[in-house]
């Protein structure tokens, strides 16, 4: 009952608490950014903002990847290593033999689609399948590049080193990514059916849609955005490292949830997720500005996750 009511409110947008939840990632981002500015006033400039958010784009893309899967009510524990795989593929092959790189990217997306098919056909929980795929991504990445190295093609590094004096480039890219994800999720048939399959798979199946195809496409999109995240990482770091993005799995989940996504599925918030990812990526910079040991970075991320989810479930409880 309550769930239905909440969902109707979501759609009509009349619920004040929903507005509060929607503004949560923005509030988190603004609050943390303000804190950074207080500690380091120079952060309040185009250059400062660009620098502060310079490495956030891979996480933003990984968040969108995770979002496609969470919207279905599944979870992907392999995001971090998939990004790492794309990172090493692009660092090792993209400059010298782009065809091999593209072939390997296609294989990765295919792997994602097979994982989605297994979840649907064999009814194995996604958490188990993606634990398995995370091993496969990591192994493949180590096979391609067992020690960090490689290089970035100039055009890719150029995209991420572009620093015009008038525009904070990371925000521009984040806005483009949010727009693309919003269009996919809210303006295409696939997006609509995908969200429907997350909240009520039986209804979608009865309406004649193939859940198998939906799940495979959603996982394929997740693989695609994971690869884009790996490319962004290569462009920024100009090298490949199979393990560098291992913690993206959790950070992407945190960003999706901070942005307003729901583990129950059916609820996608691409703009919130992107803003949430920007906020989460500030944690490291903020701790550095505060002179707090980086040892505490993961604890702070964990605490943010707990606080956000606790806040959300408490508002829900009052609603009932």
């Amino acid at each position: 009952m309550e769930a239905t009511r909440a969902r109707v409110w979501d759609r009509t947008g009349l619920d004040g608490r929903q507005a509060l939840a929607d503004s949560l990632p923005f509030a988190a981002l603004l609050g943390m950014f303000a804190w950074c500015v207080i500690l380091q006033p120079q952060a309040l400039s185009i250059y400062g903002v660009s620098l502060l958010f310079s490495s956030s784009i891979p996480l933003v893309l990984a968040t969108i990847s995770q979002m496609f899967i969470i919207t279905l009510g599944d979870i992907d524990l392999g995001t971090g290593y998939a990004v790492g795989l794309a990172n090493v593929i692009s660092a090792r092959y993209l400059a010298s033999s782009p065809l091999i790189a593209i072939g390997l990217f296609a294989a990765t997306i295919l792997g994602y689609m097979i994982a989605g098919a297994l979840v649907e056909l064999r009814r194995i929980p996604s958490i188990i399948v993606t634990l398995g795929t995370s091993f496969i991504w990591l192994g493949a990445a180590l096979l391609i590049l067992d020690i960090p190295g490689g290089t970035s093609p100039d055009w890719l590094a150029g995209i991420f080193n572009w620093a015009p004096s008038m525009i904070p480039v990371p925000f521009l890219y984040a806005a483009v990514i949010a727009a693309v994800a919003s269009v996919i999720l809210f303006r295409t048939t696939l997006g609509t059916v995908l969200r429907g399959a997350g909240s009520n798979p039986q209804a979608v199946a009865r309406a004649g849609w193939s859940l198998l195809r939906i799940r495979m496409l959603a996982y394929g999109l997740a693989g695609l955005f994971g690869i884009l995240a790996g490319l962004a990482l290569t462009g920024i770091t100009t090298s490949g490292d199979a393990n560098a993005s291992a913690n993206y799995t959790l950070l992407a989940i945190a960003s999706v949830i901070l942005g307003g996504g729901d583990f129950a599925g059916g609820k996608a918030a691409p703009i919130g997720g992107v803003v949430g990812a920007l906020a989460i990526s500030l944690v490291g910079s903020l701790l550095a500005l505060l002179n707090v040991s980086s040892d505490f970075q993961s604890a702070v991320q964990g605490i943010i996750l707990i606080v956000v989810l606790a806040g959300r479930s408490l508002t829900r409880r009052f609603e009932a």
């Binding site: 064999r122 091993f135 192994g139 989940i253 040892d295 604890a299 964990g302 707990i306």
Partner: protein, 329 residues
Amino acid sequence: MRSIRARWAEPHKWLSLTREMLAARPWAWSFLAVAAVWLAIGLISGRGLPGTLESALDLAPFLVLVGLGQMFVITAGNGNIDLSVASLMTLAAYVSAGVMNAGHGSFVLGLLAGLACGVLVAAVNLTGILFLSIPPIVATLATGLIAQSAGLRYSSAYAALPDPRMANFAGGQIGGISVPALLCVGLAAIAVLVLRSTSYGRWLQAVGQNQRAAELSGINVALVLVVSYLASGMLAALAGMLLGAYVTPSLDLGNPYLIDSIAAVVIGGTLIAGGRPFAAGVWGGALFLILLVTLLNVMHINVAVQDMVKGVLIICVLALAGGGAGRSG
């Protein structure tokens, strides 16, 4: 229905009979797989079979300990899973080694300090799950992150050396069999008894099968979860302490045990959706995973390929053995 013995007399029915018996005993798959891998190692390496098993028995207890705890949590169903075990193992290894201070500190206090880490982590997990209604997967991931920071902090403050008393215990042998292995056989037997003959065990399975029905029949679901997560926390802490003494505490000490513990439990026949535990199967799953690594090593397979093979095998085993029964999600 004719007796099984009568049907064994007809050889052409052996296959279907075997299948039937396996279906009734999902944990048997894991032991069959163990036997297959064990024989393959013997054939490929020419190593003696007892020696292979003995070295697997040295390593298995750490995984069995974490796995047994994970089994209690997974059996509670409804998405319950403990993803904090890896960081907890590392933390407990450092804290107990720090307190024991390489033989200069108190052994009992060190043991208690390590177990206290387990209780503390379980308490944070339970606070998130029970009071803040956070999905277990996120609550335990977040707690794991906090434990990871705590481990990092502790490791930079103290140089942790394995305690000789603990190392003696973790590496000790009685009649050629490792002491922790004997301990774990005992613990698995206790787990079987707990699941079969205590109220907690029956409540746990009822909660895992249908939480709403269990609640309506008066079962205290919160209490069941408290006991399960406490068991998982304390067993993982114990595994961390033993492993830290067996090797040397390091920051990634517990990392491989997160995925392996879940895999060992599920390969052992425990239903990932909850409600159907198999304590003996955890031993089968753990031995399978460890012998698999041995097999890949004797075949001189690259570590990176080993990861991939392991990933594919985990998915395949679960698709074959565990599929169809659980709910996706």
